[in-house]
């Protein structure tokens, strides 16, 4: 008996060592470890944390940020940035809600919302890749424009009174799983294939790794750079469908600070801010880590103001540790 125990012990140690070895040199290692430590810690101190309803809760809460982060990951992989996702999301939300209030059926209204995101993504893309303006400035300006239009359109008030059938997207369940979570998972699976199995994805990484070399290799760099911004606009709008449905209203003020949450998730997921390196599931991990952190601190009764401080410190720790690995 004793020997058997010893053997399992050795096995655990061995596997643990293997696990650590696999993590070594991976920029998202910190996030993985922090995620595990945090989850274990929370399950010990809180009875509710590891319950099915709480896990469901966390997944639903993160779904909006998770979907925005998909587009953000692609943009950052090319070495760019998209600051406009929050306001684009809000604008898409108000247009979608406005359409429904004006009697347009749910499905075409959702399409109007998605088209809004695509249009802004397209504008960003054209200005950045063809007019050759810096992504930071272009998307910063677009951030203001989108927010401004949303506020103009609604007069600053939420647009409520949406048809109840629309609530299914945010609150419904399919096969016992919440619809937002399903949408999130599908988005990630599609993004995974786009980035890892499609030629498109290889070009995204190539552009971030060395834009000039990619261009000189005879690849239409501008075209692909534009596409990533279009995708980012689209995922912002897609998350807006969930948010609008959950709130059952078009919210001109929604999504403030969402661009920063998305960037934080991408960075925590180990994607290099200068482009070329990173993984879409790293981003999902970053999103989950932030979600668990929020949820855990809530359960512990930590004030939301304090939570922001903790979040900031975690991000700093993550980039510090991954950049340290880089130097060696």
């Amino acid at each position: 008996m004793a020997e058997e125990k010893k053997e399992t012990k050795i096995k655990i140690v061995k596997e643990g060592a293997f696990f650590l070895k696999a993590l070594k040199g991976r920029p998202e290692a910190f996030t993985i470890i922090a995620f595990i430590v945090l989850s274990v810690f929370m399950s010990i101190i809180s009875d509710t944390f590891f319950s099915l309803s709480n896990i469901n809760n966390i997944l639903r809460q993160v779904s909006v940020n998770a979907i925005i982060s998909v587009g953000m990951t692609m943009v950052i992989l090319t070495g760019g940035i998209d600051l406009s996702v929050g306001p684009v999301m809000a604008l898409s939300s108000t247009f979608m809600a406005g359409a429904m209030i004006n009697g347009i059926p749910v499905f075409p209204s959702v399409l109007i919302g998605l088209a809004t995101g695509l249009a802004f993504g397209f504008l960003n893309g054209v200005l950045i890749s063809y007019v050759k303006q810096p992504a930071f400035i272009v998307t910063l300006a677009m951030m203001e424009i989108a927010r401004g239009i949303a506020l103009l359109y609604t007069g600053g008030y939420p647009l409520s009174g949406l048809p109840s059938s629309f609530g299914f997207v945010g609150k419904g369940r399919l096969l016992g799983i919440q619809v937002p979570v399903i949408i999130m998972l599908i988005t990630y699976i599609i993004a995974f294939f786009l980035l890892n199995r499609f030629v498109f994805g290889r070009y995204v990484y190539a552009i971030g790794g060395n834009q000039e070399a990619t261009r000189l290799s005879g690849i239409k760099v501008k075209k692909y750079m534009m596409i990533v911004y279009v995708i980012s606009g689209f995922t912002a709008a897609l998350s807006s469908v969930i948010l609008t449905s959950r709130l059952m209203s078009g919210q001109p003020n929604a999504g403030s600070g969402f661009e920063l949450d998305a960037i934080a998730a991408v960075v925590l997921g180990g994607t290099d801010m200068s482009g070329g390196r990173g993984h879409i599931f790293g981003t999902l991990l970053g999103v989950l880590m932030l979600g668990v952190l929020n949820n855990g601190l809530n359960l512990m009764g930590v004030s939301p103001y304090m939570q922001r401080v903790v979040k900031g410190i975690i991000i700093l720790a993550a980039i510090y540790i991954s950049s340290n690995k880089e130097k060696k």
Binding site: R197, V199, R202, G209, R215, S217, G218, K220
Partner: protein, 504 residues
């Protein structure tokens, strides 16, 4: 007092196993303008970096006015009275002339603020002394290259300046500006400043220098009084070697010229929009020679659409084609192996495999070119790896971890997996070891046997001479000569490249 203000005795410098300088001498007399002459890569810049304290020599001595000196940093060299004007200026573009001149040694008023008035008036005096007519309040980015150079020089000229080193100051100047620069140099000379003037323009040497020292392949060739030598002698000193036998045999040029043309390009770019013509025969290696900065790379980049041109007409296999981007160039079968491997050639965080198949991804991809066909890609990459003998345990190895030679092979492999029948190699052997060089030479010859046509840009004369079936020589953005057969020799090429007078 010693006759020599500066003596470099038996200087040697190694970078890793590569000898950059071996037992090099340079002696500069008080108040003389001493030209340092040599081809690209002869070791001139390394020698000057040693003198200015950027590098430390592995052997040899530096003497300033008869006293042994050791510089461990550019600051120490500066203190000893050595100023250097590099090719890349160190001026801050958005500051004024006066602010630049006093950068790092700003004058302050009693209460500790900047004394702009005093700095401006001192700078104005200083400029006047040297006969430079520029308002010290001008912002530097408003100035021409030549004017910026004068400011650099003004900045370097302080009371304790003994030796001023000018690294190819005339390379980017117009003839008129060169004259102004020479006037300034003469003025400095009258003030007792000795100058080392680096150039490979032979005309300049005759114009301004008192004596000339020649370097070749990191070795000291000799020092001569300028009035005692001829252009031919200097060219002989610069290049004077027979081409080594390591090059594979060429095609005979008579047969080359009879082959059909696969590329006819005429394009105008550069300052004066003059039209330049390039033709390439099937299965030919066309050398594009000229000094650094003569516009070879720019011409080729314009050809493949990587840079804008004023006017361009390109015929591939007799058919007119529109090439507005490297994408178009690839489409019409023209590949470009760029000059700077790390910034233009490879994607460092990518594996060998991903780099090699980058521009054939859509070709091998399934479902109408969208789904990466990893199996096919791997086959293609393994094939190139074998043929080019890329030394690596696995094609999954990151390119970042490869040697320069192997990185270059990866870039070449990328183009060989395409069906390009015209390949342009820009400095393909720069910074790679001798073994890999020889392999690349062999490869170029094998490629033309397979009816691939090649344009080779190289600053290494032996390479151009040893490989090219035909040579175009460029100078100041223009193709100034076409050489065939026996005319492809170093004297002839250098004569055109440097603008040294042609004898007949």
């Amino acid at each position: 007092m010693s006759e020599y203000v500066l003596r470099l005795i038996g200087i040697s410098k190694f970078f890793g196993g590569v000898k950059a300088l071996q037992n090099v001498h340079l002696e500069v007399k008080r108040g003389e303008i001493h030209a340092l002459l040599g081809e690209n890569g002869a070791g001139k810049s390394t020698l000057m970096k040693i003198l200015s304290g950027v590098y430390q020599p592995d052997a040899g001595e530096i003497e300033i006015e008869g006293n042994e000196a050791h510089f461990s940093s550019p600051q120490e060299a500066r203190k000893a009275g050595i100023g250097i004007i590099f090719q890349e200026f160190s001026l801050v573009p958005y500051l004024t002339v006066a602010q630049n001149i006093f950068l790092g040694r700003e004058l302050k008023t009693k209460i500790g603020t900047l004394d702009n008035k005093k700095m401006c008036s001192l700078a104005a005096d200083h400029l006047q002394d040297l006969g430079v007519q520029i308002d010290p309040k001008t912002v530097v980015n408003q100035l021409s290259i030549a004017q910026q150079q004068f400011i650099e020089i003004t900045k370097a000229v302080t009371d304790d300046l003994k030796i001023l080193i000018l690294d190819e100051p005339t390379a980017t100047l117009t003839p008129n500006e060169v004259k102004q620069l020479f006037l300034l140099m003469r003025r400095l000379q009258k003030r007792g400043v000795s100058m080392v003037f680096i150039s490979h323009h032979i005309d300049d040497v005759f114009e301004i220098a008192d004596r000339v020292t020649c370097l070749r392949d990191g070795q000291y060739i000799g020092t001569k009084e300028v009035r005692d030598v001829s252009t031919d002698q200097l060219i002989q000193m610069m290049v004077g070697r027979t081409v080594s036998q390591k090059f594979p045999p060429k095609s005979t040029y008579e047969t080359i010229l009879q082959r059909p043309l696969c590329l006819e390009a005429s394009l105008s770019r550069g300052k004066d929009y003059q039209e330049q013509k390039i033709t390439l025969h099937k299965g030919e290696i066309l050398g594009l020679s000229g000094l650094v900065g003569s516009g070879r790379t720019e011409l080729i980049r314009a050809l493949i659409g990587a840079e804008k041109t004023n006017d361009k007409q390109v015929l591939v296999d007799g058919k007119e084609v529109k090439i507005n981007s490297p994408y178009d160039a690839l489409h019409f079968g023209i590949g470009y192996v760029p000059e700077d491997r790390k910034t233009q050639g490879v994607i460092l965080p990518f594996s060998i495999l991903d780099n090699t198949v980058l521009n054939t991804l859509t070709k091998t991809a399934k479902f109408h070119g969208i789904w990466v066909n990893q199996k096919k890609n791997k086959e293609n990459c393994e094939k190139q790896r074998r043929e080019l003998s890329i030394k690596t345990p696995s094609v999954q190895q990151k390119v970042r971890n490869l040697s320069g030679g192997n990185q270059q092979k990866v870039v070449i492999a990328k183009w060989l997996t395409t069906d390009c029948h015209i390949l342009i190699f820009d400095e393909p052997t720069r910074g790679i070891d001798v073994g890999a060089k020889a392999e690349i030479y062999e490869l170029l010859r094998e490629l033309v046997k397979k009816n691939v046509s090649i344009i080779l840009i190289s600053s290494e004369l032996p390479e151009i001479i040893g490989l090219s079936d035909r040579v175009l020589v460029m100078r100041s953005d223009k193709i100034v000569a076409e050489l065939i057969g026996d005319a492809i020799n170093s004297e002839e090429i250098m004569r055109y490249a440097t603008g040294g007078k042609t004898n007949g």
